[in-house]
Each structure stands twice: as C-alpha cells, then as structure tokens.
C-alpha cells in the first residue's frame, strides 16, 4: 500500500501550492521591494529610491489623517459593537430568568437572533450603497424623510466633516453586531447553569449576574472579538469608497479617509511605489495591533 504515496501527495499539493505562491506569496513579498522604488507600471523597470516613498508618506497630511481615523475606529468600533452585542446576547440567552434550573432568553429570542445576523450575508459595499440612500441629505433620504416630517431641519451627516466618519462607522456596526451576538451567545451557552444557580442563591441580581459571572467567563471570546473588530478598523476601504461624498476619496476634505483609500488613490494615479509603501505600513499596523492585543489582554483562563 505504500507505493504511489509520493506521486499522490504531489498531485494533490501541486496546484494549490503553485497558485498560492504565484498569487499570494510572490505579490506580498514584491510589495516590500516595490515600496522602495519609483515605478509607474509601464515598460520601464522600477527605480530603486530607498526610503523615499516612506519619507514622502510621513510628510503627507492625508497620511496622518488616515492614521488618526484608524486610531479612532480602533477604539470606537470594538467598544460600540461589543457593548451592543454583549447586551443583546445577555438578554437573548439569560435575560428571561430561569425556570426549572434552565436559563432562558426572553420570548422571541430566536427571531431576534435571525434578524440581527441577517446583515452578515449582505456584501458590505451593497450595504454601503444602501446607507448612501438612507443618509441622503435631501428629502429622498430615509432619515431626512422621517425627521422633516416631524418638522425638524435636514441633516447631512455625510457632508458634515464632524459626523461623516461616525456615520460611516455606524454602517459597520449595523452589519457587525449580529455576528458578535451569535459569537457571544455560543460562549454563554457553554457557561454551566450551576454557576448561575449558585450566584442566584446568593442573591445576585441580573445585573450583578452579568458583571460578576457572565463577563469574566467570556473573557477569551471578548478577546477574539476585539482582535477581529480591531482588524476590521484597519479596513474601511469599501464603505468609504461608496459613502464618502467626493466620489469615495475620503471626503469631505479627507475627514473620512483611511490607508486603503489612500492606497487606491495612489494606485489609480500610477504611483505604484508609493501605493506599495502604504500597503506595507497598513500591514505592520495590523500586525502590531493583533500582537499587542493578544499580549496585553492575556489573562489566566477560568477553568470550569
């Protein structure tokens, strides 16, 4: 039976490995090289310029705007999404009190779970275009259609430089919450009922139940959620691309831009070395964030 083993292994691995090397590994590595060159992508070969692209990048106002926005999203997106999702997951799983020793969610929790998760199956770009119509600044927008009916003034959240980024972030929250409700629900289902019973016998209210029992036992899952959402904060390209009011170029006046947007802009202007440098920076930022989070939030896992 041993014969034919190596040809078999080779035949199963060859195609995936070749595709992966050509379309993932090679381009990824080449970006590091290109980021040190001046290149416009035509027949002339890339010209080595060392760190020039990086110094230009670090002198660019828009770059620092983009970094600031990533930092803001890095804090706000996980905080808001996790808070909302935890709250709903708790209501759906243990909010209904206990009967016969079994923790129950509130009535209709299955329906809510299905509805909350729904945005996950929609493409983020299409969700973005949908919210473009919701946010529209004249009467045809959903929000303005409603508030003007109540006699209030129009609001133009995407045109106002102070609200645009947060309006775009809300779309991401809108899509993400359901995913984390399901994630936290699964983790909550793993918490043994006896722990709740013991706490209840000791007279714990539902609020202290949440903070003293559920939350600490969910630590690992919260950490996963934080890393996922943090990584998502480094990728707001698609939403900004369809929601920014200046044709997707991080407007108004760079108030919503991010590194993905800057990269695409540099790419479409054929500044390929510069675009590559942005890609490299984005990579190191994401990696640093993920490594830091896992390190800083490391805690002894509670065994149960």
């Amino acid at each position: 039976m041993r014969h034919g083993r190596y040809p078999f292994i080779a035949s199963f691995l060859a195609l995936p490995v070749v595709l992966y090397l050509i379309l993932v590994i090679y381009p990824t590595l080449r970006t590091f090289y290109l980021s040190m060159t001046l290149w416009r992508g035509f027949d002339v070969a890339p010209v080595w310029v060392g760190w020039d692209n990086y110094t230009t990048l670090f002198d660019d106002d828009r770059f620092w705007k983009a970094i600031t926005h990533h930092a803001q999203l890095l804090v706000a997106l996980p905080l808001v999404t996790i808070a909302i999702a935890l709250f709903f997951a708790f209501l759906l799983n243990v909010g209904g009190g206990s009967s016969g020793g079994i923790r129950r969610g509130v009535w209709g929790s299955k329906f809510y779970r299905v509805v909350f998760f729904l945005p996950q199956v929609l493409a983020i770009v299409i969700v973005g275009v949908m919210f473009q119509t919701v946010y529209r600044s004249d009467n045809t927008g959903l929000i303005n259609g409603i508030i003007t009916a109540f006699g209030m003034d129009h609001i133009a959240v995407l045109v106002n430089r102070h609200t645009a980024l947060w309006a775009i972030m809300f779309v991401a929250v809108w899509q993400a919450v359901g995913f984390y409700v399901v994630l936290f629900s699964a983790a909550m289902a793993n918490i043994p009922a006896e722990i709740y019973e013991a706490a209840e016998l000791d007279g714990a209210t539902r609020i202290s139940l949440f903070f003293r029992v559920t939350l600490p036992l969910l630590w690992d899952t919260l950490q996963v959620a934080w890393v996922y959402l943090g990584i998502a904060a480094f990728d707001f390209f698609a939403l900004v691309n369809v929601l920014a009011q200046d044709g997707g170029y991080g407007g108004p006046d760079g108030a919503t831009t991010n590194l993905g947007v800057e990269l695409y802009y540099a790419f479409s202007k054929s500044k390929l070395g510069y675009a590559s440098a942005i890609g490299v920076v984005l990579f190191f930022l994401t990696l640093t964030f993920a490594a830091l989070t896992l390190r800083v939030t490391r805690r002894d896992t509670v065994e149960y």
Binding site: L15, V17, L23, G97, G108, L118, I126, L259, L263, L282
Partner: protein
C-alpha cells in the same frame, strides 16, 4: 395590564421583597423587549424601505419617502436590470463565485487532506506557508497582483488563449484564480483540523479492501468531512460574493472590461454614475435586486449560514 391581580391574593401573600423582585423582573423584561425590537427595526427598516422605494415613482420618492408606493412599478426593476446592467453583473457574479467556490473547496480540501493525514518531508513547512497567509491583508499584495495577472508568462499565454491582450487581467479567469488563492489559507487551516479528527480505522479498512489513495479520498474521506466542507463552503461562498477589493483592482473599468464587472462593482458604480444620479427609483431597484437573493437564501438555510460564517471564531 399590570394590575396585581395576577398574583393570587388568597392563601399566603407573597412577601414584600419577592413582589418587588417580580415587578423588577417584569419591568426588565419589558425594557429588554423594547431594546431588542428597536434594534430589529434598525436592521429591517432600511432594507424594507429600499424595497418599497424600488416600486415608487420619482414624485413619491421626493414627496413621501416613507409611505407605501401607490402601485408596483416593475419597470423600475426592468431599468435596473437592463439599462443599469445589474442583470449582467449578477450573472457575472454567479458565474465567477460558482466556479471559484467549487474550485476553492476542491483544491483546498485536497491540500488540507494531504497535509493533515500524510507524513512527508516538508509537510509542516507547506502547512505553515499556507496558514501564514491568514496574517496578510489583501492590501499588501494588490499592486503586484495586478501586474502578475497581466505580465506573468503563463497568464499572458492563457490570456491570449481566451482572447485577452492583457493576460488574465480584466478577465473572469484571473479573478477566479485570485479568489481561489486568497481563500486557501482559511480553507486549509480549517479543513486540515477537521480531517485530523476523522477516525483512522475507517481509512485503514478501506485501504485493506484495496482502495487506492485517490479512491480513499474521494469515496471515503470527503463524504465523512461533509459537515466541515459545508461550513467552509458557505464561508467562502459569501466571502467571495461580497468581495469588492479584488474585482476593483483586477477588473478595472474601460470599454471592453466593464461588461465583466461583478455585482459589487456594478452597484458601487451606478450609485455614483452621473447618468443614474437622477434615476433614484432604478438605484433602489438595483439595490433590492442585489440583496434579495441573499435574503432568500439566508431565510432558507439560516442555521447552516450562521454556523458557516462563525466557524472560524467559535471553537
């Protein structure tokens, strides 16, 4: 509604603390429902509103943005489908994603299987090479990827074969290959863990019965791995369907390539295209056409879809 008659007043009276506790619970339950219903409205509201708006006339859209349309104007849908080419983009997406998901699952499960169940020199090296891909953001590779598809000799020859003078750049074939390659890390990571859990006794029995390695894989192991395949398959299907970055870079606009755009590109572009600035009804119809199939599929198999999309995170 909340009169105290629900408590039996005969016999022993409930003591004061428990009564208060019960009232608290009922109040909390009421607030819980309010909060949950509010978020459900936030989710369903915009979708329903877009759906209803897709049947409206321009006057209705401007004068009464949140009332029902007077009649079902399917011609809005027809304009979105034909004039805005949503029909073509939809078919392109279906074609690309059907092929790429199938090929991802085939190649991914083959590689995962060999890496999980055969010992050979370089096994771990290849495994970690694939898994390291989970850490690379797509942004990091976009610029060179564009030129790999255009200039790599094999792809150039392939492009000539299918009548493209820019290699596989701007073709569905190129996009499909990129989708497959970028889906391999997660697919292999997940499936190899899954193949490892399958019992060895059945595989040994099949080998003793004279099955070869290929037969063992396709006839025995693959069917046994079905639950894992379904989860990752759904994950890849929805991920590739929603992909925007890769098609945006790899199928750039232009006279001859615009007809090859996928749905996400098409929707993003008509929302900004000058010609459609005035045709809100068709835009509403286009969004509806784009999201309706996903909602129907989700309604039919929401359990599997939830399991598939959270497969990587829940363990």
């Amino acid at each position: 509604m909340s009169t105290p008659t629900t408590h039996p007043t005969t016999g022993t009276h409930p003591t004061l603390p428990t009564m208060r506790a019960r009232r608290d619970i009922r109040l909390l339950a009421g607030l819980s429902h309010l909060a949950l219903a509010f978020w459900a409205l936030i989710i369903i509201g915009p979708i329903l509103w877009v759906f209803l708006s897709s049947f409206k006339s321009p006057e209705e859209i401007f004068s009464s943005p949140w009332t029902l349309p007077a009649e079902l104007r399917w011609d809005n849908w027809a304009r979105a489908w034909n004039t805005a080419h949503i029909g073509r983009y939809m078919l392109n997406s279906v074609k690309v994603v059907a092929i790429s998901t199938f090929a991802t699952m085939l190649l991914g499960s083959m590689a995962a299987y060999v890496l999980a169940r055969y010992r050979f020199l370089g096994n771990r090296a290849i495994y970690y090479l694939f898994v390291s891909g989970l850490a690379f953001p797509i942004f990091l590779a976009l610029v060179p990827l564009f030129f790999v598809l255009r200039d790599f000799p094999l792809f150039q020859a392939w492009g000539t074969l299918i009548g493209s003078d820019t290699g596989l750049l701007g073709t569905h074939t190129g996009l499909i290959l990129a989708y497959i390659a970028w889906s391999l890390p997660f697919t292999i990571f997940f499936l190899s863990a899954f193949f490892k859990t399958l019992p060895t006794s059945i595989a040994e029995a099949a080998l003793i019965d004279g099955a070869g390695h290929y037969k063992l894989f396709f006839r025995v192991m693959l069917p046994m791995a079905k639950p894992g395949l379904i989860s990752v398959g759904i994950f890849n299907l929805i991920g590739q369907w929603a992909q925007y970055l890769l098609p945006l870079y790899l199928i750039p606009g232009g006279e001859d390539t615009e007809s090859r755009w996928v749905l996400t590109q098409g929707i993003a572009s008509i929302s900004t295209a000058a010609g459609f600035k005035s045709d809100w009804e068709a835009l509403f119809a286009a969004i509806t056409i784009a999201i309706l199939p996903m909602i129907i599929i989700y309604a039919l198999m929401q359990r599997q879809i939830q399991a598939g999309l959270t497969a990587g995170a829940i363990k």
